[in-house]
């Protein structure tokens, strides 16, 4: 079974620039999550999708962050414009059932550096 795929693996941009990350979840997983992990901290949920609908985006800074999962499969997370404090690893995860007791499977992450 293929795991969660993410790209790019690394990205360096200057502040005020835009950046986009891509995630392809495990086949058949209806639920997709985007996390932000700042160095030395645990992952923080940004947004959760169930199929192509948003379940939770309460911690997404909506003035600069956006995410979509138009066809209910892969997803993109965008930051526009980026700030220095957005430097972090962005992790995508998926699980098979949103309401059930299923662990989340994580992708390798994208390390973003904002200069």
């Amino acid at each position: 079974e293929a795991g969660v795929a993410q790209s790019p693996r690394y990205k360096i941009i200057e502040k005020r620039q835009s950046v986009a990350f891509w995630c392809n979840p495990i086949s058949g997983h209806a639920t997709l999550y985007w996390y932000q992990q700042i160095l030395g901290q645990g992952p923080k949920l940004l947004i959760q999708f169930q199929n192509n609908g948003v379940v939770d985006d309460s911690q997404l800074p909506k003035d600069r962050f956006s995410a979509e999962r138009l066809k209910g499969v892969d997803s993109t997370l965008k930051i526009q414009p980026a700030k220095l404090e957005d430097s972090a690893v962005y992790l995508c995860a998926s699980s098979s059932i949103a309401g059930g007791l299923n662990e989340q499977f994580f992708g390798p992450g994208t390390r973003l550096t904002v200069l």
Partner: protein
């Protein structure tokens, strides 16, 4: 707001030692507690605990949950250098969505 606190922040041990990692939590309508190991990038799943007092075991790793006192312990016996990683604890509520709140992690370094 749900809260997860892990201790210690970091520790250094030698191969063969036993380590005990702690995770305390405050969550509305607790459903599950999960342990993950993070070596480089992606956290990998270790255990999910839902019932109090039941020990989950996998090789040299084991974990137990105390729902009354709101904490969990992860034990690693006979540590090896490959156990060096950050260990993350996360809790999930009984709400729709399977949302997880993570602690800050414990960094474990096992020296030869």
């Amino acid at each position: 707001e749900d809260k997860v606190v892990q201790s210690p922040l970091s520790l250094v041990v030698h191969e063969g030692d036993t380590v005990t990692l702690n995770c305390s939590y405050e969550v509305t309508n607790f459903r599950s507690l999960l342990w993950y190991k993070q070596e480089k990038k992606a956290p990998t799943f270790l255990f999910m605990l839902t019932s109090s007092g039941i020990e989950k075991k996998s090789g040299r790793l084991s974990s137990i949950l105390d729902k009354k006192e709101l904490f969990s312990i992860l034990n690693i016996t006979a540590t090896q250098t490959g156990d060096s990683a950050v260990y993350l604890c996360a809790v999930g509520p009984k709400a729709a969505g399977n949302k997880l709140t993570f602690g800050g992690g414990t960094r474990v370094l096992v020296k030869p």
